[in-house]
Symmetry: C2
Subunit: 214 residues, 2 copies
């Protein structure tokens, strides 16, 4: 039994955010030789509770076999399908500063199906080089053509905050439908374009909140 | 009227995550010369809806004055108090690689009251330097003493994933109660220690999910 294409309106964002950690825990359980797991196994591994897991999975349909559990491989396949990562997503990195280099230096995005296929930069020296770590590197003015040529789906904005708004407009004009904004700039996108903001301060504020109230 | 010290169990994590963006929007509204705002003003600025805002604020008590609105300055003060950021939080950065440098290069954490007071690194050349951008830099083996001496509250783990678990144990042994983990490693912390994980892939998966289902 698999995930059906579901309306995103029905599924809480919090559930979506939990699917990836579940998938990672399943990966570890699989590596430890578990082919079938219970919601309690997953809960123990993820540091959550079985009821939450069963509730989250229920948004997508029933997988568990009563008295047996979940088949890890099927479950992972279904989670990936639900998340839309049973296919690769081509990403453009805009901005090759420290953060950009950090993103290029990790394989954790590629492992999840997000491939940085092109880089855009303002620095003429980097543009002159033409590539970085084997990834083609272009000037900002070539954005529209390159995004179309390479079939880029998602733009990662890692420029300085003052430039972020302009970059977001260029990406959207070039046909990008998904933007991950690493800057503290407040961006706005038209309907049909999905924007997420990475903000480390929000996580730190979550920690401060819990430490203040425990 | 101000926030009361509330049990963190009662307030949804999603509400906590929205308080920071509200505060940022209020900051922008204040800069544009608004001293009093309605929930609709905030909603327009934040790209959310007024009912959500009123519901979120209701977790902490009532602020709005009927027919008048919210006094921006008081509201910001109360949100900061609720988040526990009406005081500074001393942070230790563990790992001075690209990501570490990116964190040091932004003032957006300091602006929110999170000050990177010390850096820990394994690289003997960096340790030999003794400081980076004016921030004292120590070897990993000095962690316990330094964290106590500097009164560090929160550890930012920006090492490679293989080292992250060991670093988290060292931080906890040194008395750290809050950890922000930038690595994809799965960490576990004892009760009383707050752990948050920064995972860009989760945000990308959120984008992939929405693009697949719209």
């Amino acid at each position: 039994m698999g995930f059906k294409k579901v309306s995103r309106m029905k599924i809480p964002d919090a559930t979506i955010r939990r699917l990836s950690p579940y998938d990672r825990c399943l990966e570890e359980l699989k590596k430890s030789g578990n082919n079938v797991v219970s919601s309690s196994d997953i809960a123990r591994k993820c540091g959550t509770n079985p009821a939450q897991i069963r509730k989250d999975f229920a948004y997508f349909g029933e997988f568990g076999v009563r008295g047996v559990g979940y088949y890890v491989e099927n479950l992972q396949k279904d989670i990936k399908m639900a998340l839309g990562i049973n296919r690769p997503w081509m990403c453009a990195l805009v901005g090759a500063g420290n953060l950009g280099f950090a993103l290029l230096g990790t394989d954790s995005l590629a492992k999840r199906g997000f491939k940085i296929s092109v880089i855009f930069e303002n620095d003429p020296i980097l543009v002159e080089m033409g590539s970085f770590q084997g990834i083609p590197l272009f000037g900002m003015d070539e954005m529209a053509q390159v995004i179309s040529d390479f079939g880029i789906h998602i733009g990662l904005i890692a420029v300085n905050p003052e430039t972020a708004l302009k970059v977001s407009h260029s990406l959207i004009d070039a046909g990008i439908k998904g933007i991950l904004n690493f800057t503290p700039a407040t961006l706005k996108v038209p309907p049909g374009v999905v924007l997420k903001n990475v903000d480390f301060a929000i996580d730190l504020e979550g920690i401060a909140f819990q430490l203040s109230n425990q």
